[in-house]
Amino acid sequence: MKWLFIAHILFITQYLSAKEIVVCKSCEINDIQTALTKAQNHDRILIKKGVYISKNIVINKSIELIGEDYPIIDGEHKVQVITVGISDVTIKGLIIKNSKSSYTDDIAGIKIENVHNVVVEDCRFYDNFWAVYLAKSDNCKIVNNIIRGSAKRETSSGNGIHLWNCKNALIKNNKISGHRDGIYFEFVENSSIIGNLSEKNIRYGLHFMFSHHNEYLENTFRANGAGVVVMYSKHIKMIGNHFEENWGPAACGLLLKEITDSFVSQNVFYKNTQGILAENSDRIEFKENQFIENGWAVKIGSSCLDDYFYHNNFIGNTFEVATNSTMNNSVFSENYWSDYKGYDLDRDGFGDIPHRPVRLFSYISEKYPQVLILLRSLFVTMLDLTERYMPVFSPETLIDKKPLIRKWIG
């Protein structure tokens, strides 16, 4: 407590020594670049309302760049709007728009490279190529921003929030849409993605590669081109997220590829073509998730080892579980399945006969996709019934021996 107090005092004295430079259209200093040259470290530059044309603003002093009533900083599609080249910078309350786009360079609304402790807060980004781009930068915070892109094609667009080779980042409460990937992580560690809304991006809501020990909590990923893709990572926590309405031939709520030792719980998968698609993903705990009205709730490849599904609710999905072989190395136990046809005579809350979530028809439709037109046909129901009682194609071990009779409600 004492130390905290002293630190606080130190911070305040430092703050008091700093001066404030005001930038406005009718002021003595009327553009940001001039203010930057006059500023010292720890100064604050206050930008009043107005439109400022950026000729590539490079921040090379540890300052606070604060906007009042959202001044507009316009790159006119010619330059990178703001480049942060020094640590300990705060950018707050600006509208940053129209960065240049390029096929060869990663040009961004705000680019943060090789620096630490940068905060981007309460900003709005419109029509930038990349919105916020972080590379080799640790302890950065991207909080409460609204990011809107106008991406048309994957090849000619950039990501909303892009992190490459960073540590301890916090991405919180941002709203991202219209970019290629909403949030992109590559070689990022010990970072958190919390409470963001990523929707209508043309590729993925969240894209995650080689990034270990991260957590993403309570985000919403809705109607993105292909959902959320998480690959080649270890020790990931995904809790309380919503994956909604990711529709399309290859779309899924959550794609897991080579993810190990991770934890997926209390997420809601609603109306996705595929809820979870898992390949080569080992030792993952799927707990207390809701799968509601998806085409395929879970597609789990036989390459997955020791995954554990329990206390999940599977409600009204067209197919509950699909797999691609008769091998199964995962455990399903104590889940609620709305397709369960059994009974509970001893009234212990668990069905007396095991539930087989893999339907013969899902196996057939995997091989011959045209048969989808026979969905819910009486003939198909009869096929599924025979398979349910005399399994030939579906994995013998992919059963829930203790299916819940009532929905799991915590």
């Binding site: 109306k271 009204g316 057939i364 011959y368 989808l372 037109i373």
Partner: protein
């Protein structure tokens, strides 16, 4: 007949809502019942009704009433009571419990509409059969055979065809083949409402595009109308000529 259909569907839908509470799930269960029970009940009742009222019909024919109005009157009477029983039986529980948003109302209307179409078709068919066959047992077995063919065998043949000719692009033929079967048509209309997420995979998207387009809708509607008109007119024609 309606006084049988009404309690059956009322109890089923009521029970489903009472146990399940979720309208989407109730609709999914109801579809199976509608596609299975409704054609069977209609076709069996239609056959029985025609044979059982044969003596009365002969009496009517002795009166100065033209045959057309007797035949169509019987048809209208039966379909009206069946449809009323069905619409009320399914509708009352829905109005009581369900229909929270626009999409659920749309699904409900599709369910009602395709159900009524199935009733019309599966009453028209046994009327034709009953005119053709003098013998009640023959007529009944023919009716059930047709039901079995349309609801089970036909889909089995399509599946067989898809698996056998899987090397060829079969999406279009499969679409037209299923548009020829009224039960399949009713089923696909419902699929487009409740299984959209699953249908969004590649081939499903083709089906959706076809049945969602105005041409697809036109063909489906035309096929349904043909299924009502053709057996009805053929039955009427034979009935007019029939020597009682």
């Amino acid at each position: 007949m309606g006084d049988f259909i009404f309690p059956v569907f009322f109890l089923i839908s009521f029970g489903l809502f009472y146990l399940g509470n979720e309208a989407s799930k109730v609709i999914a269960s109801l579809i199976n019942i509608v596609l299975f029970i409704l054609p069977l009940v209609s076709i069996v009742f239609g056959t029985m009704y025609f044979y059982n009222s044969r003596e009365f019909m002969e009496l009517m024919l002795a009166q100065p009433i033209n045959r057309k109005s007797i035949f169509l009157g019987k048809f209208t009477g039966l379909t009206l009571s069946l449809s009323l029983g069905y619409v009320l039986g399914v509708g009352i529980p829905f109005v009581m419990f369900g229909m929270k948003d626009y999409s659920e109302i749309a699904t409900f209307l599709t369910l009602i509409l395709s159900g009524v179409c199935l009733i019309l078709i599966f009453v028209a068919i046994p009327f034709l059969i009953s005119v053709i066959f003098e013998d009640k047992v023959k007529g009944l077995s023919a009716s059930i055979l047709i039901w079995l063919y349309l609801s089970v065998v036909y889909d089995g043949l399509i599946l067989f065809m898809i698996v056998t000719f899987s090397d060829y692009p079969l999406e279009q033929p499969v679409i037209y083949l299923s548009a020829l079967n009224p039960i399949d048509l009713a089923r696909i209309m419902m699929l487009l409402k409740i299984d959209m997420s699953a249908l969004m995979v590649y081939t499903g998207a083709i089906f959706k595009k076809f049945f969602g387009s105005s041409m697809g809708l036109g063909i489906s509607f035309f096929s349904l109308v043909l299924w009502i008109i053709f057996p009805l007119l053929a039955g009427l024609k034979l009935f007019n000529k029939k020597d009682f």
